[in-house]
Structure formats: structure tokens, C-alpha cells
Assembly symmetry: none
Homo-oligomer: 416 residues x 2
């Protein structure tokens, strides 16, 4: 089954709201095995809703229309759909009483505008709205399926989960359709293009499952998507490809699906029974923020210091003034002294430090913006990394944290 | 000028990422006075990118294509565009050397895939990429304008702000189009609906300029948008409306346009000649991160501590064990002791503390998730705030920081 999504609403065209409905609908349709090749968005304009719907019906079996079902005059979806498929609007006593009841519950009276929502497309299957006033509608016409759901995310998802998806599942089964499943392998430590070269043969030999890389700030996700007759078969197809990629990339893969690097590091700290403290400079607290994004991080994260000034590096962490004078705050030596100092201060078993130049100012020929030193002290061992990062202040800080969390991951993984 | 947005990327069709680019592009084009009637999204498929682009060119003067410019084989945008307008791809030594330089900076070698990105559409105006490898392109063809920008939001917005928008402004001027200018009044401290009630009469009496509120995490922006024949007239129209809103909302307005609360606080610290130190618990470093997002923050930010454990609150900040035993870490008394302790530690003139329950676990009947105490010590004065915040862990932490920065703003503003 080929499906298509049409979002209706001028506020979407003006960018006043982000269209999260389309992402939700895409994901749910993909999971049903519906191939979605196109998504469109138009404003509250009858002519343009009609032309877009016509195009959609000409190339897809299923069109899910979200938005434009409200009570006001600029809600034109129902009229436009009726027009395109040449059907009349009919009065639904059911919907009318639902609307009256909905308002009664909150001690209010529906306006005539609200009552207008009781006019639905002739021959449609109604989707009663338990969380709002606009009813959903499913229309089968000339071998095509048109689904109308509200634009309000809560009402839309409620109707999809409770009525539309079960309806589509049964339709698809009846025509012996397939399911689509995907898994993400999350990698860190190698750029997208270099990574792709590593697995080029696997990528090119694959059509099902497909493998799609997606890069962001030093992380590269590999999305494996399989199409099969059932869940189990899809899972096995993904397992095979994932296995061959894992055997090629090994330690570059830090997690799967929505796992974050901080979650993986947190789990390693927990399972190895370690505690951690941070000494941050140029990241200003970002590293601590990322580590404490993880619920329950208090079980291994003792705390940290943000020593932005030289004085505070010396006073809190005991960084010798000679180090700052001879090597400067952005140096291998200062990073090591900061990590050792914060470990003493918090009496943690592991500690991390980061000091560098996030920019935009302060760079020199020998110490350019983007130069960052990080140190990890774990038990008796000290690991120091010298990073040279691209991008603006925000990117340098974000990428520094990614690199440090990865250094931490590697050190912790090596522990017995 | 009629414009249209085309987002390319299979990950969008699978709903694996939400298309925030389209919302940004819509907003910026609307501000330029470009009428956007359609947005489309297709996967990484040459044929479908081509058919969608053809349709877009048939009904719009401007098509902004985002995504599909990457180095891998499934990035097909450039090939598809060249095909539709019948142009050859040409090698750009400029782009090639930019790519080589981009990798050199980080001591890496570009792969052949990266070098592939040096093939651009003949006759295009290049947009050099300072934050990535994929170049942007502006193509004028048969009276239409096609703009190609990357799908990575940072690279896309950078190119739009620095090259594409200035280019479009000048194009629109040259055809004598009306200019659309907008200004954002940024408010903090009152919810959207309550705020709207304050200025209901101003909102309803306005059609040009229009006033649109956008709420996000404790902040409400009021975007004033005027349409006029020239900049100066638009500016004056905006000034008048801004004045009447300011006289109504007064201190709720903390800044304009892209000013952040942290920038405003930073400027206050600088002009009043103060220095600051932070004692964070539940925010885990986020407050420090926000303050150091501001370039040059080292002139007033001395540093901070993230004391996540009770022991560290006592050891680093001198919070008396009795306070933790009697009142707990999430208490007025602990917040005060933390702020006083960190001020001593960093010898700053101002200090801030935050301690609370970000959740999801750890809440009780008397101390629910979302309860946060914050303290500001400034000279001899101590201000304490008790916050009860809604939302998930991430929202509680973000909203806590917003509230604290606002408390800080009010305290600093009151200084002589």
C-alpha cells in the first residue's frame, strides 16, 4: 500500500508551529508497512487543498489528511474533500450529540460553529472524538482510502491509535501486505564519509534491508530498515545486517536506537561500580548537563567544578600556578592537573577534565579556536586527548563533550 | 514573490526525525514577504525529487530545497536539480579546496565521497560552507530561483542568514515588492494566555503590524511584523506598536529579537561591574552552560560547582549537615547555604544556587517532582525563590534555569 500525508494549516506555512504530526504519522504508517513517498503541506485554502488532494489520490492508495477540521470558517478540509470526490455533506445526529455532550461536561454551550462540525462526508465511517469536538472520518472511494483526522496532536494521535491504525492493519493484512521495521546503530569517533567507506560493500549490496547514514555533531547513526511479511522475519533480516556491520565497525558502535552516549557511559559506570567527578572549563557545565540528563545519574555522578578563571583552577583544583604560567590553561598539563584535582576533591574513582578554546575570540597561531584538551583519570591510569574541533562556539563545545564521553566510554570498557 | 519549500530525506518520510527546517524556512520567507502556499517532502529518490521539483517550479517563483547534499550515494538533490533544469555538473576548485581545508583543520583527509561534493550545478552562485562540507547553491533559471541548502539545521540556517536571505531581500526590493520587517519582544515571568489578556485590546486592534505570540519553556515571544513600502516606514510602524506593548508589560520584557536571557544577565553583570559564581545541584551544569553560551562570559563568570551528592554540598560549599538532616537538600535553607558557600569559594560579588527535584523519580507528597529552590546572593542581600515546575526532567531543568536567570535579572536591575 502506498500512502501519503497531507497537513492542512496556514500556521504551518507561516512556520508558527512545527509539524510534528507528519513525523508521527510517517512513523506509524512505516511500521504498518505503508510506503510513504510524499508529504505535503498547504494552507487553509479550498482550491489548494483540492489540487493537492487530487495529486495525492493520483499517486497513492491512502491519503491521511490532518488539520482543517475545526469549527471556524477557515477550516475547509471537509468541504474540499467532498468536492474532490463529488460527495454531499450530510448531517450526523451522532456527532451533534457528541459535541453537545462534550460542552455539557465542561458546563458550556456549543456555538453554531461547533454544530457545523456535525456535517460530515456522505458514506464516511465516523471516528468519534473523545478528546475534542471535530470528528474524524474514513472514506473509501474508487479503491482509494482517505482518512481525515484533526490537527490537534492529542486528538489526532488518539484517533490514529484507537481507530485508524487498527482499521489500516486489517486492510493491509487482507491484501497480504508487508511490515517495515528499523533499527539504528549509533556510532562515534569517525566522520560520516570515512565511516561509509568502511562499509561501502555492505551498503551497496543491500536493497532490503536498506542502510541509511545520518550524521550530527560527531555522531553518525546507521539506520537499518527491513521490509518483510512479519515482525520476526524483519527482525532476523536486521540482525544479519547489523551483525556484519558490527563485525566491521566494532568499537565505533556505542549503542542502538535512542540510546545516548551519556546513557552508555552511565551504564558502564554503574556496572563497573565506579563514581565520577568532572572538572570543566570551556564547556562551562555542558558535560555535567549531558551526564545528568540521564535519570538516576546521581547513583554514579558525584558532582563537578566549572573553573572558568585561572584563580579558581588553582584554588579549587590545586592546579600549580607554574603550570598555568609555563603551559597556559589550555594545555595537556593543565588538563591532567584539573582531572587529578577534581578526583581528590570529590573522592571519586573516575574523573574527567576539559579545557580549551571555544571561541569566537582568544585563538592564537599556536592555540587556535577549537583546540581542546581532555583528561580522564581512572584508578591509577591517566588518558589525555588533544582535540582540534571545527565550528562555532556552540559546535566546539558540543563536539568536545561528544569526544570526551567517547574517551570515557573507551577507558571504562577497557576496565576488567 | 511566491515561494515553496522542498525537504529531501527518507528519514523525514520514515518519521525518524521531525522536520524543523521547514518551519524555520517558512517563518523566514514569510518575514521577507514571500508567499508560501506549499511545502513538500520527498525521500532520497531521484525520480521523485525531480517530479516534485518540476511541480514546484510550475507554480512558484522560488523553490528552497533543503537536504540531500551530503557526500553519500543516497544524496541525490544536486543531480536531480541539474536534470530538471537541463544543466551539467561542473567541478568547483573553490569548493574542493574548502573541503580539503575543512578536513585539514582537524588533521584529517577527505574521502573521494567528500570530494564528490565539489561537483556543482553549472552557472550556480556558490554558498561556501563554513560549518560543514556541503556547499549551498543559488540557481537562477528561466525566471525562477532555486536555492539548495543542506539538511543539517546548523549549516542550513547559517547559509540562509548569511547569504540566501540577503540575496532574496535584494531581489524582492529590485522588483519593488513590499518589505516585511519584524521585531520580537521577548518576555519572561508570565504564561502565554495570561500575557495575551494583558494586551488583548492591542492584539485585536492590529492588522498591520501583526502581533504573534510564541511560547516556549517559560518564555513568551511577541513577534511584531509590519508590511510597508520601505524599511524606514516599517520600522516606525513597529516602533509605535512596540511602545504601547512596552508601556503595558514593562519589566516582563527582557530583550528584543535574538537576545537571550543569559546575554541580558551577562550585560547587567558587566555594566554593574559584578562577578558571579554558581552552585548547581539538580540542573547539573545547565545553568553554567547557558551563562557560558555567551561569548566573553569569562569577563564576569568566575565558575561554579555541581554538587550532586550531599557530601559534596557539605565538603565544597560548607552546607551544615544539620541543614541536610533537618530540611533536606531540596530546601530554602540548603539553597541559601549553597549560594553563600559558593560566593565564599569563588570570592565573587554575586552568587546563585539551585537545588530541586527534576524527576522522574524521587518525588514525595511534600516534595513533588518539579519542586526547585533557588537563591541569589548579591552584596549583602539574599533572595530565595520556591518554584513548582511542570513537565518532564528536561523541561523542569530548563524552566528552572529560565526562572533563575530572570530572578538574577531582577536583582541586578534593582542595583544602583
Amino acid at each position: 500500500m502506498v500512502g501519503e500525508i497531507l497537513a492542512v494549516g496556514t500556521e504551518l506555512l507561516l512556520g508558527q508551529i512545527v509539524d510534528t504530526n507528519s513525523a508521527y504519522l510517517s512513523r506509524r504508517l512505516a511500521e504498518l508497512g505503508v510506503d510513504v513517498y510524499f508529504k505535503s503541506c498547504v494552507g487553509d485554502n479550498v482550491r489548494r487543498v483540492e489540487s493537492t488532494l487530487q495529486l495525492a489520490l493520483s499517486r497513492s492508495d491512502l491519503v491521511v489528511v490532518t488539520g482543517g477540521l475545526g469549527p471556524t470558517d477557515d477550516d475547509v478540509t471537509v468541504a474540499a474533500v467532498a468536492d474532490v470526490i463529488g460527495r454531499k455533506l450530510v448531517y450526523s445526529a451522532q456527532v451533534d450529540s457528541d459535541i453537545v455532550e462534550y460542552f455539557r461536561k465542561t458546563g458550556r454551550q456549543p456555538s453554531d460553529n461547533n454544530r457545523k462540525q456535525a456535517m460530515v462526508i456522505g458514506g464516511c465511517t465516523l471516528i468519534r472524538n473523545q478528546v475534542g469536538t471535530a470528528p474524524g472520518q474514513i472514506i473509501e472511494d474508487a479503491g482509494k482510502i482517505i482518512v481525515l483526522v484533526p490537527g490537534v496532536p492529542r486528538e489526532m494521535t488518539w484517533m490514529m491509535e484507537n481507530t485508524v491504525i487498527p482499521y489500516l492493519k486489517q486492510k493491509i493484512q487482507s491484501v497480504g501486505g508487508a511490515v517495515i521495521r528499523s533499527r539504528i546503530l549509533r556510532t562515534v569517533g569517525m566522520g560520516e564519509s570515512a565511516l561509509v567507506v568502511q562499509i561501502e560493500d555492505i551498503l551497496s549490496s543491500q536493497t532490503n534491508p536498506t542502510i541509511a547514514p545520518y550524521a550530527s555533531d560527531g555522531l553518525v547513526d546507521l539506520r537499518i530498515t527491513a521490509k518483510a511479511q512479519d515482525d520476526e522475519t524483519a527482525r532476523q533480516m536486521i540482525d544479519r545486517v547489523a551483525e556484519s556491520i558490527r563485525s566491521r565497525l566494532g568499537g565505533l558502535i556505542y549503542g542502538e536506537d535512542n540510546e545516548t552516549l551519556a546513557e552508555v557511559v552511565g551504564r558502564l559506570l554503574l556496572t563497573k561500580g565506579e563514581t565520577i567527578a568532572l572538572a570543566e572549563s570551556c564547556t562551562g557545565g555542558l558535560l555535567g548537563k549531558l551526564i545528568t540528563d540521564v535519570p538516576g545519574s546521581s547513583r554514579y555522578f558525584l558532582g563537578g567544578t566549572v573553573t572558568y578563571s585561572n584563580e579558581s583552577k588553582t584554588k579549587l583544583l590545586g592546579v600549580q600556578p607554574e603550570i598555568l604560567e609555563r603551559h597556559g590553561a589550555v594545555s595537556r598539563q593543565c588538563a591532567a592537573a584539573m582531572a587529578l584535582g577534581v578526583k581528590r576533591l570529590f573522592e571519586s574513582s573516575v574523573s574527567v577534565s576539559v579545557t580549551g578554546l571555544a571561541g569566537p575570540d582568544g585563538g592564537t597561531a599556536t592555540k587556535p579556536v577549537g583546540l581542546v584538551y581532555a583528561a580522564v583519570v581512572c584508578g591509577g591510569s591517566l588518558s589525555i586527548a588533544r582535540l582540534l574541533l571545527n565550528g562555532n562556539r556552540d559546535q566546539v563545545r558540543t563536539r568536545a563533550c561528544v569526544a570526551i564521553l567517547n574517551l570515557l566510554r573507551r577507558v571504562l570498557t577497557a576496565l576488567p
